[in-house]
Amino acid sequence: MSTPSRRRLMRDFKRLQKDPPAGISGAPCPDNIMLWNAVIFGPAETPFEDGTFKLVLQFDETYPNKPPSVKFVSKMFHPNVYANGELCLDILQNRWSPTYDVAAILTSIQSLLHDPNPNSPANAEAANLYRENRKEYVRRVREIVETSWE
């Protein structure tokens, strides 16, 4: 059954295939267009460099009026990512706009890796280290970069 949300997601996918933004990839599950798998490559010149971080995006029929729920599947150590992989990202909550598409969501998450926001910490330890002990923060991030290859 084709619904407005499903059609929109199909177009999101076509657009993502046509001009894929650098360092991200994503695709719906073959049997369920409402569930997407995505990979974000750690941005260069950040501690996340060389990491391949996997995420799942779960959409429902309220998309794009409501954001999907997005979760890291790979282990993550980041001030704005909860222990269960959920993200604290404004555009996925109160700053959502129905004009965003999958490419926009993934690009925003990629830029979150680049610029953590320690003022709204989801992981207090990561936020503290980011502010006060950058060296240890980088070391902890490199650990999860290595586990992301497994």
């Binding site: 084709s2 619904t3 407005p4 059609r7 929109r8 199909m10 177009r11 999101d12 076509k14 657009r15 295939q17 046509k18 990839s25 695709a27 599950c29 569930l35 798998n37 995505a38 990979v39 391949t52 996997k54 799942v56 779960q58 429902d60 029929e61 309220t62 794009p64 009026n65 729920s69 979760k71 599947v73 706009s97 129905p98 004009t99 598409d101």
Partner: protein
């Protein structure tokens, strides 16, 4: 998956792809359906899409400028463009396919015969390589720009006449400023009476301003007149939901001919959605009967109800942890 699924990427030519993309709503990615422009920021959306969005947050979804429903106006030009494009999309795609085939045939012909075509094709690229790439000073680039413009072949002679926005007559571009001065003061333009300036001899009727600009809106006006043919139903009023009891909400919904089942939040959602649907239907140049609209509301509720039952079961996500490993 879907035969009638159209997408800008159907076109190989970036120009066509661009047109196809710009005629689509930034929210739903479908062709604009009853295009509405926000007078606060000039962004355009489908009527239903933007009305729904404004019930969630009173700002433009594209630029976040504060906007309310009264900031919306019909954008009939976009509606007309969409309908022309949709009607001709398939022919353009077919033409594009034929063109591609023809090009491929030509290419094959060129490679088979060692024709001089090859060398002539490669020449321009050689020229590009010879020209200094990055180390260009501003003055040199200016010089080169003037050179190229001097070297460029003279422009193809074309009709240099444009429509005057006041009298809507064809005016020579070089003469336009003088013409406007006269036209704005309501004085006759003597140059236009010369038979040489207009190709056809100006008949008395042609001298009268041909109201092109008025002509077009009249088509949309004639479309709006059609609205009266269908029953749009009772106009729903906005409600301060906090002040309403479920009993009061049920009464309001019943009066609008809508189901009164569900808890308070369901009733509120239904009422909000109905206002969006109703207003978008009123905006439309081709509105549907209120009964059709009610059916749409119920279908939509049905779709959402299925979702809440299936809602994000963690097992589903767990299963796809395996699937995701195949992605990289």
């Amino acid at each position: 998956m879907d035969e009638d699924f159209d997408d800008p990427t159907d076109f190989a030519n970036p120009a066509f792809e661009g047109v196809d993309e710009h005629l689509r709503c930034p929210i739903c990615s479908e062709f604009f359906q009853t295009a509405m422009i926000l007078k606060t920021c000039s962004h355009t959306f489908c009527s239903l899409c933007i009305r729904r969005s404004l019930t969630v947050e009173q700002c433009c979804p594209s630029c976040r400028t504060h906007s309310v429903e009264t900031s919306l106006h019909n954008n009939y030009v976009v509606d007309n463009l969409v309908s022309v494009w949709k009607n001709n999309r398939k022919s353009i795609l077919d033409l594009e396919g034929q063109l591609k085939q023809a090009n491929e045939r030509d290419k094959n012909a060129v490679t088979m015969s060692d024709s001089p075509m090859d060398t002539s094709l490669s020449q321009p690229t050689d020229g590009d390589e010879r020209s200094p790439p990055a180390r260009q000073t501003r003055s040199s680039s200016r010089r080169s720009a003037s050179q190229t413009s001097a070297e460029a072949p003279p422009p193809v002679p074309e009709d240099t006449r444009v429509d005057c926005h006041i009298c809507h007559r064809k005016i020579d571009l070089n003469h336009l400023n003088q013409h406007w001065d006269l036209c704005e003061q309501g004085k006759p333009d003597p140059s236009l009476d010369k038979p040489s300036s207009t190709s056809s001899s100006p008949s008395p009727s042609a001298k009268k301003p041909v109201m092109f600009g008025v002509h077009q809106p009249s088509t949309s006006k004639s479309l709006t007149r059609m609205k009266k043919a269908v029953d749009l139903g009772k106009k729903p009023q906005k409600i301060v939901y906090n002040l309403e009891t479920p009993v009061g909400l049920r009464k309001v919904l019943r009066e609008l001919g809508l189901p009164d089942k569900g808890d308070k939040s369901t009733l509120i959602k239904r009422h909000k959605e109905w206002i969006s649907l109703y207003n978008a239907n009123v905006d439309s140049t081709d509105p549907v009967d209120v009964k059709v609209l009610r059916k749409r509301l119920l279908e939509q509720e049905g779709r959402l109800a299925i979702v809440t039952e299936e809602k994000i079961n963690q097992d589903g996500i767990e299963q796809h942890r395996f699937g995701i490993r195949q992605l990289d």
